[in-house]
């Protein structure tokens, strides 16, 4: 039977478009992402090129040094958007790692249920009470701070909440008739999980994922700030903020510019998360 009208997703999109702060955030994040892609490739000053005539220069129109230069005369415009590239990439990739682990773990624990499922969640409870960031620091210390390992480490620690959300949803979904009929049809468990369970938990997962990206950006910045993250000449917002913090007496723009971008990004993701929650969660539609 074909019913005319809009699908659930189209409804959600329409609701999302009405959320002004979320839409504005999408545009701002689009702009920052575009600059993060374009600037490091095409900007006249590269991120590690020394401008000898402009050591620690405040923002100026000369020579395209719009955000000024750092202590070593390196162009802050280029460095800020290179930092954006690293911070955003790490934010997204770590979230993907967490997403894969969390969804798989939560779906299996919820679908299996019973004692094994409970045991799996007890493990999550114990891990939950550990000081996660300290473990990230240990992991980074142990495996060195290569780019790949940083996001694996953060992702490996941040999947716990996702596992809980997915398990909760799975517990209720597996009682639904369509899952029962899939079981009766003799489908294999992985097929049921992938085709019938996971697609139906996606709503709350998407909302949490948009909130996890800024958390992971903060974690990466935190590590870079402490000197445990990205290493020179590469940079991220956390690293730039840390270097700026050392020079606040003489060159406050080195701190303020990357800090402003970081904060704007954090707020944008939170607004997008709010918008998605209003759009995807029909139970709590107060607006």
């Amino acid at each position: 039977m074909t019913a005319p009208g809009r699908s659930l997703w189209q409804d959600a999109m329409a609701r999302f478009r009405r959320h002004r702060a979320a839409m504005a955030s999408v545009w701002i994040m689009g702009a920052i992402t575009a600059l993060a892609i374009v600037v490091p490739e095409f900007w006249p000053n590269s991120l590690d090129e020394v401008n000898w005539d402009y050591l620690e220069s405040p923002p100026t129109a000369d020579n395209y040094l719009w955000f000024g230069t750092d202590v070593n005369g390196r162009d802050m415009f280029s460095r800020t958007f290179y930092g954006a590239r690293i911070s955003l990439t790490i934010g997204v990739l770590t979230t993907l790692v967490a997403l894969v682990i969390g969804v798989a773990y939560g779906a299996i624990a919820g679908y299996r249920g019973g004692t094994p499922g409970d045991l799996m969640m007890r493990v999550v409870d114990v891990l939950y009470s550990l000081p996660a960031l300290f473990f990230v620091i240990i992991l980074v210390t142990v495996f060195g701070n290569s780019f790949l390992l940083i996001f694996l480490c953060i992702g490996a620690v941040e999947w716990l909440t996702l596992a809980r959300i997915v398990r909760g949803q799975t517990l209720s979904i597996k009682e639904k008739e369509y899952v029962e009929s899939a079981m009766a049809a003799g489908l294999l468990t992985p097929t049921i999980l992938l085709k019938y369970i996971i697609p139906n938990v996606i709503g709350p997962v998407i909302v949490y994922v948009t909130l996890l990206i800024p958390i992971n950006i903060i974690v990466e910045s935190y590590l870079s700030f402490l000197g445990l993250g990205v290493q020179e000449p590469y940079t991220s917002w956390g690293r730039l903020i840390s270097q700026g913090a050392d020079e606040i007496g003489t060159a406050p723009w080195l701190l303020i510019i990357p800090a402003a971008f970081l904060v704007i990004t954090l707020f944008c993701f939170n607004f997008i998360g709010d918008g998605l929650r209003d759009a995807l969660d029909p139970k709590d539609r107060t607006r």
């Binding site: 114990v126 009470s129 550990l130 000081p131 960031l133 300290f134 473990f135 620091i137 240990i138 992991l139 980074v140 210390t141 142990v142 495996f143 060195g144 903060i218 910045s221 935190y222 700030f225 402490l226 000197g227 445990l228 956390g238 903020i241 840390s242 700026g244 913090a245 606040i248 007496g249 406050p252 701190l255 303020i256 800090a259 970081l262 904060v263 954090l266 707020f267 939170n270």
Partner: protein
């Protein structure tokens, strides 16, 4: 109540054991060693050093030895500071971190509740909007951004406060670090208090309390505030963990000689035993303080009291 606390303590022991084991093995599978950073180290000397610090033994034996010494209260020698052991290093830094953390938590808790109460009682006024805007910024902006900005403003532009250093916990030196550390907690508690205050202000028993003619301050303090405290108390657990990770940054920025800074230096120097010791201290604290928060919760809400 005592029974409940004891049972929770019993659960805490395996958790702590998991933490110690995880941290121990994670650190030992590291590709580099703690002596890699010494320039021009003779291979034979390196071998001797490894022997002296027990690092040449099989991993399981090292683990057993570590647990045994730990049970006797010995955290082992520091690998980077040859003249002091881990327990001494932690004992040196702990009072600084504790003073910083405690002051910040007290400020965050009471400051946050006060702001939340004021905002809720003056709902939708200019005061409310200002407080909530600041609270939103405080929740969203990480400590490593606010701390340098606060230093820039109050330390450099206004010149009111010293930029860094501890100076034996002198009042002027402690203000900026404490405020920077307390800010996220304060902001979080403000939001939670306001929300739960508004909820309980609309409750039937509050209307009853007013109807029987209680003076307003009594209605607020006795009937509105008590249930409004509940979500605040359950927020304390995550807030404490957050304050500890925040304190690592704060101590690094302000150059305070606490265990947070020792942790970062240990991580940079690959001082295995020091990192391990500090993680154990942090984990124990988090577990104990969470337990305390749960007990307070049980005290405030008779429904969750076991049996």
């Amino acid at each position: 109540m005592l029974n409940y606390a004891l049972r929770r303590l019993l659960v805490a022991v395996p958790t702590l054991f998991v933490i110690i084991t995880l941290a121990f093995f994670l650190i030992r599978i590291a590709p580099g060693g703690p002596f890699d950073l010494i320039p021009d180290l003779d291979p034979a000397a390196a071998e001797n050093l490894r022997k002296a610090y027990d690092l040449d033994k099989p991993l399981l034996e090292q683990y057993g030895n570590y647990l045994w010494r730990l049970a006797n209260g010995d955290l082992g020698p520091s690998l980077a500071y040859r003249d002091r052991n881990v327990a001494e290093l932690i004992a040196e830094g702990f009072p600084v971190s504790a003073q910083l953390g405690l002051t910040a938590m007290v400020l965050g808790l009471f400051g946050g509740m006060l702001c939340g109460i004021v905002a809720a009682l003056r709902k939708n006024s200019a005061v409310d909007f200002t407080v909530m805007a600041i609270a939103m910024a405080g929740v969203g902006i990480p400590t490593f951004v606010t701390a340098p900005l606060l230093t820039l403003f109050f330390g450099l532009y206004l010149g009111w406060l010293p930029l860094s250093g501890w100076n034996n916990g002198q009042f002027a030196h402690i203000i900026l670090p404490v405020v920077a550390l307390a800010l996220p907690t304060l902001a979080g508690i403000t939001r939670i208090t306001r929300g739960s205050m508004l909820e309980s202000l609309g409750a039937d028993y509050v209307r009853t309390a007013r109807a029987k003619g209680l003076p307003e301050w009594k209605v607020i303090s006795r009937h509105v505030l008590r249930p409004a405290c509940m979500p605040v108390v359950s927020y304390l657990g995550p807030a404490i963990a957050g304050a500890m990770t925040g304190s690592v940054v704060i101590e690094t920025i302000f150059g305070l000689p606490g265990i947070g800074r020792a942790f970062v230096e240990g991580a940079l120097n690959r001082d295995y035993s020091l990192i391990l010791g500090i993680v154990i201290v942090y984990a124990t604290l988090i577990i104990l303080l969470n337990l305390l928060a749960d007990i307070i919760y049980g005290y405030l809400d008779p429904r969750v009291r076991p049996r």
